[in-house]
């Protein structure tokens, strides 16, 4: 059964006509060709698939496309302002925080989500949320440095 689902994606109105039970992740990647959001586990355990739904960090692999009808979705592709990286992206790049980089988009979105929720969040508060994210290269030390760098940057919470 197919439904028309309309939502705001990276600031623009989009609609898809599809089975509303398909995951947001699958529709983003396969129908809308936004492949920056990654599949890691399919059960919300690794958060490689993190996007923002109404500004809140969300595992897109366990969110159905039907659930984002009339909602606002931001993916990693929607963060940078033209050539200007979002401050969290810039911090991750400056630290060379990642190794294979497959978890990076999810990590960036996780930090942006935490800061959108509370722009004055402390390092401890942000790190508590980042506990949901897995980096199998175990680049956690450099990610922590990058997150700290991001916390010190202006404009870090916008998305």
């Amino acid at each position: 059964m197919e439904n028309k689902i309309s939502f705001t994606l990276n600031g623009k109105a989009r609609s898809v006509t599809t089975d509303p039970q398909r995951s947001l992740l699958e529709v983003l990647r396969e129908d809308l060709h936004l492949t920056g959001t990654k599949f890691g586990c399919g059960e919300g355990q690794c958060r490689a698939c993190t996007v923002l739904v109404n500004g809140e960090s969300t595992a897109s692999c366990i969110t159905s496309i039907g659930d984002v009808d009339k909602q606002e979705v931001t993916t990693i592709e929607g963060l940078a302002d033209g050539d200007k990286l979002h401050p969290v992206q810039a911090a991750f790049l400056a630290e060379g925080a990642f190794q294979c980089g497959y978890c990076t988009a999810g990590m960036v979105m996780g930090v942006v989500g935490a800061l959108k929720e509370n722009p004055k969040a402390s390092e401890t508060e942000v790190m508590a949320k980042m506990q949901k994210h897995i980096c199998r290269c175990c680049s956690y030390v450099k990610y922590s440095k990058a997150i700290n760098r991001a916390l010190a940057q202006p404009g870090k919470g916008h998305a």
């Binding site: 920056g36 990693i76 060379g96």
Partner: protein, 717 residues
């Protein structure tokens, strides 16, 4: 460890190269279709355009890695000034792209940003062998440097000939050859546009070309960032699972309910009735492809209930270690020194290491596309040319008809040597007549990828009256020969690897058997030190002659304040040491654990590691590899263990198989010891080998109960 100087001046570490390909059993698909059938299935199509000189590899070589046939196969100078370097290695997060770019840029006299690096496209690059065994640094780096240095010399010779000046009248400056006296300069583009450029690049890469000396390095030795780093943070980089082709379908593979199960029958009709769904059965392989993944899943669900299977008895993780001992080839060898024990102190222990999974964050993924009987597969793998061979064999093609492209992918850790997913995607694409993307689920990756081998290690040693090791008997069952030899000076030794019957399909892993063998040996060293009544540091140093291993051990002891901490009278704290050498690099670690006796648990508070791999090529990348190796090692030591029964994996998810997360990271104190006087060795593997034993020794120190099995569990608290 000696180093020898071959022609070309780059000292080579003196160790045996393991053939990692031998360690894993490849999936035996055979999709033999005649070429006529391909044409029938596919119709006419376009070839993928190849923009660079093809025939990069020596022809007729199978299995080996021939390297670059000539200069053109290694370096392409564009007439527009672009410089492209080609290498058969892959980038899976370990840093090959940055370091190979640095290697080429250094010799070409250019900044790293001026060099494009094409990796692991079998139709374009030389076969530099698989990316494993820490081989990129000691073997591919020198090969790329020689090629780049030869290109630089060609430019110099060309300029001198054109200008009719002596070679010492010109110099390289910012990627140009400059004749200061006449204020003339020339670039690689000028060489590329010259009449005989193509002919010049047909020559083979000279082995004796002079390389830039370490002290003159401008690009190597610096913390160059991964060249495509920006695309990683923007999400623009396309991993294998992100590749999209026109008309592409999404695939799913039917999996057996258990290892060893054989498909007897299946009714494909329920899936074949679905619109736009392609269903394939080819002997034991059954798969579907559909316009999206949900449709493919639905189609697979409709037929998976109609299957009948035969099963065979399979071992379980509960009986794993007995199983490995019972199936040891030729039995478990006896200690040949048993007759010499009279009066000596003898210690005999058994160490157990379970199966673990690599669990790379990007599961196996492949996109396959057929055109005119030619097959192109984009996939994440450490072994592009071996995977091409798998496809060539399964589809009865020639090498020239299969192209493997490895986009920078989501990690491997030794777990992506094989081509299962590429084979399955190719078979689906063949049936569909359209490109097919196949991405394994996490459960598939945890179940149908291969595992790090489990081990039973028997260690027995006798001490002489002076507390020195007189005899040493060390037997690894099942997991492999890496680091089975001891780096310590012992009286007489018998170190052996004895294969067993694997209880699960196993293969390579980061440092492979060096993880199990270092765990057993270094825990055993602490047990021997205790038997000798000696401090673990002093006991090790008394048996060490290798100056590089001594140096890392002494560095860690100093930085960790071993002597101060080991005497601390806090009964809830324990400290442990371990050291080892593998793949030509040297490592030592000290770990502090805190025991919670009420909870019967412990926490790793601090890890101090000293690591030395010769001359450091990229300190930022090296630090990432060392930190990552330490934390990955903590995961294997603390929790990771594959549980299985009746041919099924019982913990095939991140929920049931917890890997390290942010809050597992202890205070890390890493010391990278640069040795500009020594050849660079690989560093992706060795940092992991000391973590489990150092942690186990710290628990032993705190509780008085030895830890002889992984993951580390508290017994004596």
């Amino acid at each position: 460890m000696k180093t020898s100087l071959p022609p070309g001046g780059i000292p080579q570490p003196d160790y045996e190269e393991l053939n990692y390909d031998e360690l894993v059993e490849r999936v035996d698909y055979d999709f033999g279709l005649s070429r006529r059938s391909f044409v029938k299935v596919l119709g006419a199509g376009l070839l993928i355009a190849v923009s660079l000189p093809a025939l990069a590899q020596e022809s007729g070589r199978r299995g080996g890695s021939a390297g670059a046939r000539n200069l053109a196969a290694r370096i392409h100078l564009g007439k527009d000034g672009t410089i492209t370097v080609l290498a058969g290695k892959v980038e899976g997060g370990q840093g090959a792209r940055a370091e190979l770019t640095q290697a080429a840029a250094e010799e070409l006299g250019l900044p790293a940003s001026s060099v494009q690096m094409v990796l692991a496209d079998t139709s374009l690059v030389p076969d530099d062998g698989g990316t494993y065994g820490s081989g990129t640094t000691p073997r591919t780096m020198p090969s790329v440097r020689r090629g780049a240095a030869a290109a630089r010399n060609l430019l110099i010779e060309f300029a001198c000939t054109q200008w009719k000046v002596e070679r010492d009248a010109v110099e390289m400056r910012e990627g140009k050859i400059v004749h200061a006296a006449s204020q003339r300069s020339m670039t690689y583009a000028d060489l590329a546009n010259s009449d005989n450029a193509a002919k010049l690049f047909e020559q083979s890469v000279p082995s004796d070309v002079e390389l830039v000396a370490v002290k003159a390095w401008k690009v190597l030795g610096t913390p160059v960032l991964r060249p495509n780093a920006r695309d990683i943070v923007t999400g623009a980089h396309q991993y294998p699972s992100d590749i999209a082709r026109p008309g592409m379908l999404y695939g799913k593979t039917l999996r057996a309910p258990a290892f060893g199960a054989k498909l007897v029958s299946i009714d494909l009709a329920p899936a074949k009735m679905l619109k736009d769904v392609v269903v394939v059965q080819d002997d034991q392989f059954v798969g579907v492809a559909a316009p999206n993944s949900s449709m493919a899943e639905d189609a697979l669900a409709k037929i998976s209930g109609t299957t009948k299977w035969t099963t065979t008895p399979q071992p379980s993780s509960r009986e794993l270690f007995d199983f490995l001992k019972q199936n040891a080839e030729g039995g478990v060898p006896a200690n040949p020194f048993a007759g010499e024990f009279a009066g000596a102190k003898v210690v005999h222990q058994t160490y157990l290491v379970p199966y673990i999974q690599h669990a790379p964050l990007e599961t196996r993924a492949a996109v396959a596309e057929w055109n005119d009987g030619k097959l192109t597969v984009w996939t994440g793998s450490q072994n592009p040319f071996a995977i091409r061979s798998e496809l060539v064999r399964a589809f009865h093609l020639s090498d020239e008809r299969v192209r493997i492209v490895i986009p920078d992918f989501g990690a491997g850790f030794g777990g992506k040597h094989t081509g299962e997913c590429a084979l399955e995607a190719a078979r689906l694409a063949q049936a569909a007549g359209k490109p097919v993307s196949l991405r394994w689920t996490r459960e598939e990756e945890f179940t149908w990828a291969y595992f790090r081998p489990a081990a039973v290690i028997e260690a027995e040693a006798s001490l002489d009256a002076g507390g020195k090791i007189a005899t040493w008997h060390f037997i690894n069952l099942n997991s492999g020969p890496s680091a089975v030899e001891t780096p310590y000076s012992v009286g007489k030794k018998n170190c052996r690897y004895v294969p067993s019957k694997p209880a699960l399909r196993h293969g390579s892993y980061r440092a492979l058997a060096a993880t199990a063998n270092n765990f057993a040996r270094e825990v055993f060293m602490d047990e021997l030190a205790a038997a000798a009544g000696t401090d673990p540091l002093a006991f090790r140093l008394a048996h060490l002659e290798n100056p590089r291993l001594q140096a890392v051990l002494e560095k860690v002891a100093k930085e960790f304040d071993w002597t101060g901490r080991v005497k601390k009278k806090d009964s809830n704290l324990g400290v442990g040491l371990a050291c080892g050498t593998e793949k030509g690099s040297f490592v030592a670690a000290a770990v502090e654990v805190e025991i919670d006796r009420q909870q019967k648990s412990f926490k790793v508070r601090r890890v101090c590691q000293a690591f030395e791999c010769g001359k450091i090529l990229n300190p930022a990348n090296l630090l990432s590899q060392v930190q990552g190796g330490i934390i990955m090692g903590l995961g294997a030591a603390l929790r990771e263990e594959v549980q299985f029964e009746d041919g099924k994996i019982l913990n095939a998810s991140f929920r049931k198989y917890p890997v390290p997360r942010f809050n597992d990271v202890p205070e890390l104190d890493v010391h990278l010891m640069d040795r500009p006087d020594l050849a660079s060795a690989g560093a992706g593997e060795t940092p992991i080998i000391v973590i489990a034993p150092a942690m186990a020794n710290a628990v032993f120190h705190a509780t008085g109960a030895s830890v002889r099995a992984l993951p580390v569990r508290l017994m004596g608290a």
